[in-house]
């Protein structure tokens, strides 16, 4: 017997055996790349999981495994969840893309949702958030707040999502402060407090008085607090323990509504493979409270910017914007298309340095 059929029949046997129970309880699995206590990315996904439990109570059962390496280990964890009767599995990191597709092939009746990837299948959806909208607000505040005109940026990996964030923040910082300069450090990690703290210290030493981060820990916040006069923004979660200063605002990922909606769809039997990319308008990207450390007029402008994006009136990448090499990317009034944004691998004009290759 082929392995696939063996698995399928085992899953079927299990489904029959526990059929009565399975019918009234929907089992939802979550695979996390970091520990739930990271205070950032995984923490927010776990909040989404708890929201699902809260919403459906006895009708759902959720399971999760944290700190799962991206590769064969992830594949095993997903298979294990599917074998144990999960109906819906959220795989919450880009590196889980191929493992998700592999496991989904073996379990056609289980629904999979992969965060931030691009490969879909009949039973695999992808979902991500337009974090760059939040970066626009950050850039606006950062450009106003910097006195040294040097803004430090802790990049995780040079992937399109992160590059979009850098570009968006830069475009909006430049708008309010033409002298602004970005210094970018690549940490090559999503979560490593020691590395992140080092990166923040290096940037502060180089004169940065605003630090933006695309990594998940609060270590940069702590480094800024120590330095005393450096502004930071919460990443992925609010990080409000560092408010009102150094943390003056934040980008919050809010997965709860999406997770609840998708779980509901599985319960109703209406689940379909979709490609979701939601932003401020849908509530997937939130802007954490802008603290009083930000001047009132700047705060007001920032909120207006947010409102314009929420209303769909403003797109952060609206021309004229040139690429780093000076060639025209977006003409006057032109708006970036999702395809280009999804695979963004270039800096906009004015940013220095190269994207690591």
């Amino acid at each position: 017997m082929k392995f696939t059929t063996l698995m399928a029949s085992a899953a079927l046997a299990l489904g029959l055996a526990s059929g009565a129970m399975a019918q009234d309880k929907t089992k939802v699995g979550f695979v996390y790349v970091g520990p739930v206590g990271d205070g950032g990315w995984t923490y927010e996904h776990n909040k989404g999981r708890l929201a699902v439990e809260e919403e459906f109570g006895d009708k759902v059962e959720t399971v999760f495994v944290e700190s799962v390496p991206e590769g064969p280990d992830a594949e095993r964890v997903m298979t294990q969840m599917a074998l144990e009767g999960a109906d819906l599995i959220f795989t919450t990191s880009f590196g889980y893309m191929d493992p998700t597709i592999n496991v989904a092939k073996k379990f056609p009746n289980v629904k999979f949702e992969h965060a931030t990837g691009y490969k879909t299948a009949d039973n695999v959806s992808v979902y991500s958030a337009r974090f760059y909208e939040g970066r626009a607000v950050q850039g606006h505040i950062a450009g106003n707040m910097t006195k040294s005109n040097i803004i430090g940026y802790i990049g995780s990996y040079p992937i399109p999502e992160v590059i979009r964030g850098i570009n968006s923040a830069y475009v909006h910082a430049k708008k309010v402060n033409p002298d602004v300069e970005f210094k970018i450090v690549w940490a090559y990690t999503w979560f490593d407090p020691a590395k992140e703290a080092d990166a923040a210290k290096v940037l502060i030493e180089q004169g940065a008085d605003v630090i933006l981060q695309h990594t998940d820990s609060t270590a940069p916040q702590a480094a800024a607090q120590e330095a005393g006069n450096v502004v930071t923004f919460g990443q992925a979660s609010d990080m409000s323990e560092y408010a009102p200063f150094p943390r003056v605002s934040s980008i919050i990922d809010d997965w709860a509504p999406y997770y609840i909606a998708r779980t509901q769809a599985v319960m109703d039997g209406t689940w379909e493979s979709v490609n979701t990319w939601d932003g401020i308008r849908e509530g997937m990207v939130g802007i954490g409270e802008i603290s009083d450390a930000v001047p009132a007029d700047v705060k007001e402008e920032a909120l207006a910017l947010k409102a314009a994006m929420a209303a769909g009136e403003y797109h952060p990448f609206t021309g004229p914007i040139n690429k780093q090499d000076g060639s025209v990317w977006l003409a006057e009034g032109e708006v970036a298309d999702d395809g280009t944004l999804a695979g963004m691998n270039f800096y906009v004009e004015g940013l220095e340095g190269d994207i690591p290759q």
Partner: protein, 360 residues
Amino acid sequence: MIVLEKRPQPSKAWSYATPLVAVVATMVFGGLLFAILGKNPIEAIGTIFWEPLFGEFAFYYRPQLLVKGAPLVLIAIGLSLGFRAGIWNIGAEGQYIMGTIFGAGAGLAFYPMEAWFIFPIMIFAGAFGGWLWATIPAFLKVRFGTNEILVSLMLVYVAEQFLASVSLGLLKNPEGFGFPGSRNLQSYESAHNAELIAGSGMHWGVVAAFIAVIFSYVLLNRHMLGFHIRLTGEAPRAAKFAGVNPARLILFCLGLSGALAGLAGMFEVSGPSGVVSIDFNVGYGFTAIIVAFLGRLHPVGILLAGGLMALTYIGGEIAQSQLGLPAAAIQVFQGMLLFFLLAFDLLTNYRIRAARSEVA
């Protein structure tokens, strides 16, 4: 009062018993830890050790034990040869990475050609990559007397930078929409280290691990070189008189352990993993050090230790999702294993005695 008294000869009985005692102690104290976390300790330990082997889904987990254990055993076998001779290669993780890059790189260089010779070339390239990376500390030690522990360890971080670089540049999938990571070797037939029998978990890396165990056993027990390795570790002065060339031994032991680590990386990337990515390495090279010691640096012991380690990984994941144990608790549990092993090792060389009270 209790005193420790050095044994005139290391106790044979204890040297075999300590791994077992360590496992039992780990279960006891691990169980205590789980109980403090509010879980039923019997259930938790049972889940970790029983479920993967005899549970409902053992048909899936048993092959996975091979997949998870093979790289550990392959690397640990190489390390054990050096460790026996007092040559400390701590950087197997880096050699594993370089084997991955070389092996996958060699395969992808031929893409999309399909030919039977591609996979053998990849095997050779993977072993070469690991050998090359391990030969750097070996050469520096022989030539300049540097410390191989430090050099090999530091080279891990250099290798990680290489890995990030090729994932973003040289080996990046041109059809990957700008995302880092190579093409998936699983969908490139000539380069795919597929399961030999579907669903068995047996891929070429597992075969290589078993061969390495046998080869190492024969080498240590039936071959002059193996005798030299053991002699150098146990009595360096005697080894000198016996005509052992230390430089050659260093180059051999580090080179071989590097080549095996490189092979492990190559089999992993072409098989279970498929993709060269920035976070490809998950610590096999470091965990293999634990496996080598847990297996008493003996080939058969290492085979068993590799299986045990794989069991705690897989069982640990099951315990996480079924019982909601935090990942950190599983890691502490694994750490306890090495801790107790080293602690009870004391009994091999020392015995505990109640000291006679001094009579005035």
